[in-house]
Symmetry: C2
Subunit: 201 residues, 2 copies
Amino acid sequence: MVETDKKRDAIIEGAIKRFMHYGINKTTMNEIAEDLSVSKPSLYYYFPDKNSLVFGVIDKIFSDYFALMEKIPYTDISLSDLLVSFIEIRHRFFQKYYMLHLSGGSPDSSLNSDELKKHFMEMKEKNQRYHAAIFEQAIEKGEIGMINTEKMAELYLESMAGITSLCILHGNKELFPSKKEMKTMLEKQIDLSNIFVKGLK
Amino acid sequence: MVETDKKRDAIIEGAIKRFMHYGINKTTMNEIAEDLSVSKPSLYYYFPDKNSLVFGVIDKIFSDYFALMEKIPYTDISLSDLLVSFIEIRHRFFQKYYMLHLSGGSPDSSLNSDELKKHFMEMKEKNQRYHAAIFEQAIEKGEIGMINTEKMAELYLESMAGITSLCILHGNKELFPSKKEMKTMLEKQIDLSNIFVKGLK
DNA sequence: TTTTGACCCTTGATAGAAAAAAGTCAAAAA
DNA sequence: TTTTTGACTTTTTTCTATCAAGGGTCAAAA
């Protein structure tokens, strides 16, 4: 039903706001309910448990991410530039949703459910397939040489994720990485991406 | 004094054996002393505290690492192959000393002392300088184009470390990464290294 | 100079209690 | 019939008090 879906979405939006500021574990179902001026059982009417709500939130975020990716037209733009655009999109999402610890190594137990891990895996694979398709196009256009696109997309994204991972790991142990660390990370990813593409020629 | 240095080394060797098997935090000064059939205060005669002993151990391991690196002659070998040799050396050390968590993200509080962090930083920089020198040679030989070697060495090593970091992060949560994960990690590092070098041409 | 037994003091693990949060349900409201 | 709720139960987390273990010291002996 449409009304039901609207309410579900409103709950997800409310949850996202709390999660973005306090993180998943530090947000209670009561707080989300209070924000929306409803009772806790109402939340449980739309979501069987907190994990499903978290799932809904993650799913929404990823669908926004892919929507943004797919909005970028990949004709009339070099592979390097296209990949940089993708890096910038990921960078914005990483900053915006940092408190949700979507990049792994999470202290949030809610992210450790098998269901959610599976979903993360699926999103990762979807992202890889999308990048592999981009590589495929670039091969057809003669921008890069013949490669195993699936494997290269995986290696490429893993090298990007590795940079992110190190930024989180070696960063100051504050709640957030500093603006400066963020900028350095972004620059390194762009540099590496450009070298990577050149290396595929 | 020579005798004193010998005893220091013996203690370090004994500590390494324990650390390799049980990790730093799970090894007590008493155990190290018992292994060497001396009393605990004897240890404290040679090392003012546990941190200094850990420092000695780390220092020994890094000096072994650099000794092995420097043994590889870097004439008559392509940059790609040389870098692969380095990756293999790091891989062996990573496996051998895995329990010491030298790759960061350590649960061992002993590794968090300022003194030791500084030392880690110095070793990282030494490694970067060594790699930068390698890149310098390759430029002179015309194997790769002109680049900022310091910056490239940093980016290169960080992309390698990133792969390692992800392996630790996403690996099974067992004590050790599996042989298979290790192999995959090694292959990815080699692949990335080769693409990176091609990208510098 | 080097080694040691005996000792102190700090820290980290453990368990049990208390608090908080997740989750349920019968009944009311829409 | 669908949605909402106050009051309730169960589970999880956090806090705290205790205690053993491990780091570190020292005076005396070798």
